[in-house]
């Protein structure tokens, strides 16, 4: 009897080779990027000094500016985020149903839904805002639509995944009673995805509050407009006030979402 000296290896040769080639490609890409990227080193060394200068200009924060224009702009931002999230649902719900394989089983409809969901996610909210500002002119409408179009991909994808995970038993039971298509959707699917639905919508609302705060930089309404104006006039103390307001609202939104989620789910 010969003893076989088998040496235990965690990965096969093929696995190792493919992993090392990923590392290698990444390394080459990194080196190539560093070599060709146009960065002026003096700017980099100078950065801490410039940063410090910027922050000293921001101090003291101009709190009086809050009641002048930050407050109204902030309310507008929150409205854009909320309204945008609601408008998203109009598009996201049908697309999610089309994308879920246990609702519609035709691959053609999956393809269409996926196309819309992916393009919505690929285009950044600022780019959506630029497009809508070009169409509707500067203002709130552009902001709401930018938020809505950007969120469709996110909400639709997650909703479709939630729908695919449900228990099909109640659906079959409903179908067996001869329930209509609409009844099956409302009484079979809907109650089961309700918790996921609320958690997805809340999560997206939280993200949208952050995003709507910057849409104004391209003219789509909200606090971003105030921020942009203050920056163009080099009124750094006002910029600091606007940033502080954004910071506070983002934190508040997160706390609200966490609290509601605890209560609801």
């Amino acid at each position: 009897m010969t003893t076989t000296h088998s040496h235990w290896q965690r990965f096969t040769l093929k696995q190792k080779l493919s992993r090392y080639s990923v590392y290698l490609i990444l390394l080459i890409a990194l080196l190539q990027s560093i070599r060709t990227v146009e960065v002026i080193p003096e700017f980099f060394y100078d950065a801490p000094e410039q940063m410090a200068d910027m922050f000293t200009r921001m101090w003291p924060i101009d709190f009086a500016f809050y009641s002048i224009s930050v407050h109204d702009a902030m309310i507008e931002t929150l409205n854009i985020a909320t309204l945008g999230t609601l408008v998203t649902l109009i598009f996201a719900l049908p697309l999610a149903l089309m994308n879920a394989s246990n609702v519609v089983s035709s691959p053609f409809s999956h393809w269409i839904a996926r196309f819309f969901l992916v393009s919505s996610r690929s285009v950044n909210s600022l780019v959506w805002a630029l497009l809508f500002v070009a169409i509707f002119g500067p203002g709130v409408i552009a902001g709401v639509l930018a938020i809505a179009f950007r969120s469709v991909g996110f909400v639709g994808k997650l909703l479709a995944e939630a729908i695919e995970e449900i228990n099909m038993g109640p659906i079959e039971a409903l179908r067996a009673t001869g329930a209509s298509w609409a009844s099956v959707l409302l009484k079979g699917y809907w109650p089961q995805i309700l918790p996921a639905f609320f958690s997805i919508v809340l999560f997206r609302w939280d993200i949208n509050v952050r995003e709507s705060a910057v849409l104004g930089l391209v003219g789509a309404g909200g606090i971003g407009v105030v921020l942009n104006d203050a920056m163009n006039l080099f009124e750094w103390q006002r910029v600091a006030m606007a940033l502080l307001a954004i910071f506070a609202v983002v934190i508040l939104a997160e706390i609200v979402v966490v609290q509601i989620r605890k209560k609801l789910i």
Partner: protein, 264 residues
């Protein structure tokens, strides 16, 4: 057959959930309120739809004539995304480790978690503005922005992944007398590595998307090209850039799927 109709209390099996109904009512009230306060009107909207038709007329066919400009912007976006992702992920490895509450004492984790939360609260565009003001226009501001954004997202996920590991293996390695570095390398890393790869590829994807956007505020990349095309009403060139961005992101998603499959 009399038994079928005998029962007098036929409850509706689908009870109305008053909390949810109230919520929908609230949503309806909010809709009316917000549409009124923000001055949204149907005429403005329908007028805009007319403009949309004009805009699309001017966008098509997309104009790829200035492909050199497009390509240089694209290359810069890619460079920003790659450098920022590698730097951000590398820094996040350490920050995530220091923020993990099951391995570190609280006087280390609390400031670390604060730092990570601070990186996450501001939208990348706002961070980009601050960096553009402090290091000037160009790719450097974009890289720094995306590094900060990566830390905010990935370091948090890393810390959470580390907190979920099984401590038995850590104890086993510790029992052999291994030092701290060996402990991390041989007991913590193997348990979280595949999840780290998942987060990292996701972040690379997300940095790729954002690198096409930070240019709008002057931080380099394709976003700058896009924004100036918008300002000069070169809508056919805008269409070309948008198509390029979508293609780039789809390609990025395809690549990260491959990487994820390799490391599964």
């Amino acid at each position: 057959m009399a038994g079928v109709n005998a029962s007098k209390h036929l409850d509706n099996p689908f009870k109305r959930n008053w909390l949810i109904t109230g919520l929908w009512a609230l949503v309806a009230v909010y809709l009316i309120y917000s549409v009124q306060t923000m001055g949204l009107s149907w005429t403005r909207f329908s007028e805009g739809l007319g403009h949309a038709g004009q805009l699309f007329d001017r966008m098509f066919p997309p104009n790829f004539e200035r492909w050199e400009l497009l390509l240089s912007g694209l290359a810069e976006s890619l460079e920003i995304a790659i450098i920022a992702s590698v730097t951000g992920i590398f820094l996040s490895l350490f920050l995530g480790l220091f923020a993990a509450r099951n391995l570190m004492p609280s006087w280390v984790t609390i400031p670390m978690r604060g730092l990570i939360a601070l990186c996450r609260t501001f939208h990348p565009v706002i961070i980009a503005i601050l960096f553009v003001k402090s290091v000037g226009f160009g790719a450097l501001a974009g890289i720094l922005t995306l590094v900060v954004a990566s830390i905010g997202f990935i370091a948090k996920l890393f810390a959470e992944a580390i907190e979920e590991i099984s401590l038995k293996q850590v104890e086993a390695i510790r029992a052999t007398g291994a030092g701290f570095v060996s402990l991390i390398l041989f007991s913590v890393m193997p348990q979280v590595f595949s999840r780290f790869i998942g987060f990292s590829t996701y972040q690379l994807d997300s940095n790729l998307r954002n690198s096409t956007m930070v240019g709008i505020v002057g931080a380099g990349g394709l976003g700058g090209t896009l924004f100036s095309a918008f300002q000069r009403f070169d809508y056919d060139f805008v269409a070309a850039i948008l198509i390029t961005i979508i293609a780039l992101i789809m390609f990025g998603e395809f690549l990260s799927n491959i990487v994820r499959r390799i490391f599964r």
